[in-house]
């Protein structure tokens, strides 16, 4: 063990609650891995406030009821100083109360999401609709066309995102041909595909999620959408989701996120963390933006900065410092919290799928504002 400066005091406890099992376990496990990596790194550098960090990981199992029980373990048994985690919005909703209100603990939510989460002591470190749409949609109009279709899974994220996206589309002279919602597990999209083809839609701005998205893109492809010059767009598409379809079926798909693995070619810091991650966790769980891995990294680093600034670990002091915390280096570039908003400014990249890999085709100038709260 490292010789801790303040060894007399107990370790600082970090809680991670994420989906280690269940349908999105690949994302949750990646997040847990990132947390392990970051904590190891911080400890190796002497810990925080001279105290070691201790990591407590609990499973949310994509089951809100299990999740609440396990989060209570973190809060009530382990008495962690901060909880980071939750991937889906419904999970965030389920666990935020036990953490923030009943548990009087700080909560960091790392995933890209629909925005509008303005609960005190709850900090979001993933991209918001503004960050994902403001520059992306004009690019789509220029590189795809004006006629948009918004096929969506029927839950809060697509609904809220679409409201924002539609505004941006219309403000930029585009047109939404239709906006339609499907049950989350719908796997047959013949009616939708037909509507897209017969309306000569240029851009499919997709918020259908797995398992539906695979068959949907496939049906679109088979109906000749790509052949006729159509463009797919999907703002949660990262390296994990590339494998859902064969490369040809999603050729030219555009996505807008805070990080893509190709950035490692140009950005030494990204190359460093990507390499460190792959060395520690060579398995299948990728360090990717769509599964909140980058948000987790960013969140933990911002929190580290805040604790350092506050010099103590109680909730109010850390929250006050986290309110304006900054990091100079993170996945995709620097990041900083917007004071008073509990959301995070970051750089955004637009990438296009080519032959099963991404190519960066556009990037933001500097940090993009989340425009929340």
């Amino acid at each position: 063990p490292a010789p801790w400066a303040n060894a007399a005091e107990a370790p600082i406890k970090v809680g991670i609650a994420t989906d280690l099992t269940g349908p999105i376990a690949y994302a949750g496990n990646a997040d847990a891995n990132v947390a392990k990596m970051v904590i190891k790194e911080i400890n190796a550098a002497g810990g925080l406030l001279g105290r070691p960090l201790e990591l407590y990981i609990e499973d949310t199992a994509s089951n809100e009821s299990v999740a609440v029980g396990n989060v209570r373990k973190l809060i009530q048994r382990d008495k962690v100083d901060m909880v980071l985690g939750g991937i889906t919005s419904s999970m965030r909703n389920a666990i935020k109360d036990p953490i923030v209100a009943r548990g009087k603990t700080l909560y960091i939510y790392p995933q890209l999401y629909e925005g509008k989460e303005c609960t005190p002591y709850l900090f979001c470190t993933g991209p918001t609709p503004a960050q994902q749409c403001d520059e992306f949609i004009p690019w789509l109009i220029k590189n795809g066309g004006k006629k948009f279709a918004l096929p969506s899974a029927n839950y809060v994220w697509p609904h809220t995102l679409n409201v924002y996206a539609r505004k941006v589309i219309e403000a930029n002279g585009g047109e939404v041909v239709f906006e339609e919602y499907y049950p989350l597990d719908q796997v047959d999209f013949s009616a939708t595909v037909n509507r897209i083809i017969s309306n000569k839609v240029d851009v499919v701005f997709n918020t259908v999620i797995p398992p539906g998205v695979g068959p949907f893109f496939k049906q679109l492809y088979e109906a000749g959408f790509l052949k006729n010059g159509g463009r797919l767009a999907c703002v949660y598409y990262d390296e994990n989701t590339l494998n859902i379809n064969q490369a040809a079926e999603i050729e030219g798909l555009a996505s807008c996120l805070d990080y893509f693995k190709v950035l490692t070619k140009e950005n030494p810091f990204d190359a460093k963390i990507q390499a460190a991650y792959e060395k520690d966790f060579p398995g299948n769980f990728l360090f990717a933006a769509g599964s909140a891995a980058t948000g987790t990294y960013r969140g933990l680093k911002l929190w580290e900065a805040a604790v350092k600034e506050a010099g103590k670990i109680d909730r109010d002091s850390v929250a006050a410092a986290l309110d304006h915390a900054k990091i100079a280096e993170g996945p995709g570039g620097p990041a900083e919290m917007v004071p008073g908003k509990r959301h995070c400014k970051m750089k955004m990249y637009t990438a296009v799928a080519k032959g099963g890999n991404y190519e960066i085709v556009a990037r933001s100038n500097g940090l993009v504002d989340p425009k929340e709260c």
């Binding site: 099992t21 269940g22 376990a25 690949y26 047959d188 797995p210 695979g214 494998n243 859902i244």
Partner: protein
Amino acid sequence: MANAFVAAFEILSFGAIIVLIVLGLGIIASMMGIFNFAQGEFVLLGAYITYLAYAKGLPIWTGMVAAPFVVGGLGFVLEALIIRRFYAAPIVAMLGTYALGLIIRESVRGLIGGFYLTVPEPIGGSIDIGAMHISAWRFTIIVITLLVMAGCYLLLSRTSFGLRMRATLENPSLARASGISTPLMYGATFAFGSALAGLAGALIVPVFSLYADLGLRFLIQGFVAVMVGGVGSFIGPVAGAGVIGTLSAALPWIMAPVVADVLVFVLAIVFIKFRPQGLIAGKGV
């Protein structure tokens, strides 16, 4: 016109997929009186085996051919080890198969890392008729479904195997007293139902990609289809699956998909209420 044709094809193809998935479920439910909650996972296994063949660099169709045999074999073993104990208590059996399904599903999830993985179709691309594009693989699925249906029907109605099977499941002790080896028949029936699920999984994986909840997705739909069609015969569930499948593909053409989704179930349950014996009352095969 062209549009209507494409629509009809797409609806039909989804109907065929549901039929394919329900076939095995229906046979086990009708013949053995057990609603097999692990059926979805048998479908998943079929898909997984196909994926394995692909991942190992073998031609995909080898995986598709192997799937029904491997899953059928597994079904046979599971029947002998586990299901056999439950015939007197079908509800407990349901729970048993539920647990079994859970184990298989979570194991596969572990094996594939919880991802969604693509498997290419052996016959890819589309058949183009003028401006219309029809997926070649979906067309293949329709054809295979028809063949399998006909095959099953003949097997059950024309062979003494079918007769033994029906006799066993109807009254096991009397079947034994008629010289039929009931353990073998139970095993064979369950294996047959599982094999069909395996085949279904193998055929649909290129369409839906491989993921751990692939089979689960269709389970409740399958049960409802069996009910609508009528338990107790081979034809019933098949007809029910056809209806449910086409309905759930057709309704989104004329109304909001979210409404269509719930409506299918509501319609189904109201239908069953007023025609409890199902579309086809349990007669004959």
